[in-house]
Amino acid sequence: MCNVCGCGAGEARIEGLPTGQGARQGRPGDAAGEVSPRGWRVTDSHEAAHYGRGPAGAQAPGMSQARMLSIEQRILARNDALADENRRWLAGRGILALNLVSSPGAGKTTLLVRTIEALQARVPVSVVEGDQQTSFDAERIRATGAPALQINTGKGCHLDALMVGQALSRLAPPVDSVLLIENVGNLVCPAAFDLGERAKVVVLSVTEGDDKPLKYPNMFAAASLMLINKTDLLPYVDFNVDKAIDFALRVNPALVVIPVSATTGAGFDAWLDWVDVHLDEARTVVPLKADLYAGKGA
């Protein structure tokens, strides 16, 4: 277990069940790798130790057989492959998936509740909730009538593509709908993990510092949209909106910024317009990667 924040493996749960249960079958990479017995160790009873089969292909007395093997593999290749699979699955169904990230307490769940209430009359919305523990958030979402699935990451500090893939098959969001993924409240780790979403939406609330984009730059670099939330509290806090936007654009010049208040609904027209534009894209534009695997998505 990591002694920095305590994140570890094997404790992730979806609605109380270990993530190993109900896993989708037949994912690439799940099959055990073929064993290619090209090592220099004895491979069957007829062979003595074979020095010509070492990694170096030959043996010179006194020389080590150690060698450098070029790997050139991304550490997160497996997560990224699963994320691509999720993306194709979503694209084939015209589902807009957004990955909402923020520090704890930025108001993601309140924002989701209000967003669902505004959207669900015209488009179905489903939600994947990520938290270390409890299903409080999923219960708040279900109270709106939208289906929600809670993923508890245990000691883990982020959702990954495997968890979301399993959540997709259980939640089964309908064709032409919106899927909102509320990541674990954490401005660091979720930046590194592609879930297969169309965009990351980072929520920064005015009760935090306006220098957050510089303090946690990776998340703001990874996001496509920044929502500045709790703007109704601006008269009471020392938060400079222009400064926060300036800092965020330093990190990511392409970032779109919309100030909102999930409590009063201020700014929601612009946020819902943004969702509509991306929903139209999700329904009509099939990403190139999905084309490559045509036939698998629908």
């Binding site: 990591c2 994140c7 493996a9 064993v35 090592g39 080590s64 997560n79 984009p213 990776n218 330093r250």
Partner: protein, 113 residues
């Protein structure tokens, strides 16, 4: 920190490569970590030692090669080097720099025996 998950990703790569190539032990794991990647190298070192236990890279040396951060400055229309995501363009001082490199996290090489 997600360095534990990254260390587990490294172990998966090492074990799969060991199965395919048929080697037993890894002496050194060489990573390529971009200057702008979401990784804390000290934290990754700690997790690496813990996660590699009992596998082919148990006790292996972890070598981390840093790759400099690069970006495209829209103002200068040029490729520039940056040390942080929020760094200004070293040529014009502007902030219209879109990151183009230095976010990679890769297993580059394994020294095997």
């Amino acid at each position: 920190m997600h360095e534990m998950s990254l260390a587990e990703g490294i172990r998966q790569i090492v074990e799969e490569t060991a199965r395919h190539q048929g080697f037993g032990r890894v002496r050194t794991v060489v990573l390529e970590i971009g200057q702008l990647a979401v990784v804390e190298p000290d934290s990754l070192r700690f997790c690496f030692d813990a996660v590699m236990k009992g596998g082919p890279a148990d006790g292996a040396v972890l070598q981390i090669d840093r790759v400099p951060g690069t970006g495209w400055c829209a103002q200068c229309a040029a490729q520039v080097e940056i040390a942080e995501l929020y760094d200004p363009c070293p040529r014009c001082g502007g902030y219209r720099v879109q990151v183009t490199g230095g976010t990679e996290m890769r297993v580059k090489e394994l020294e095997i025996e």
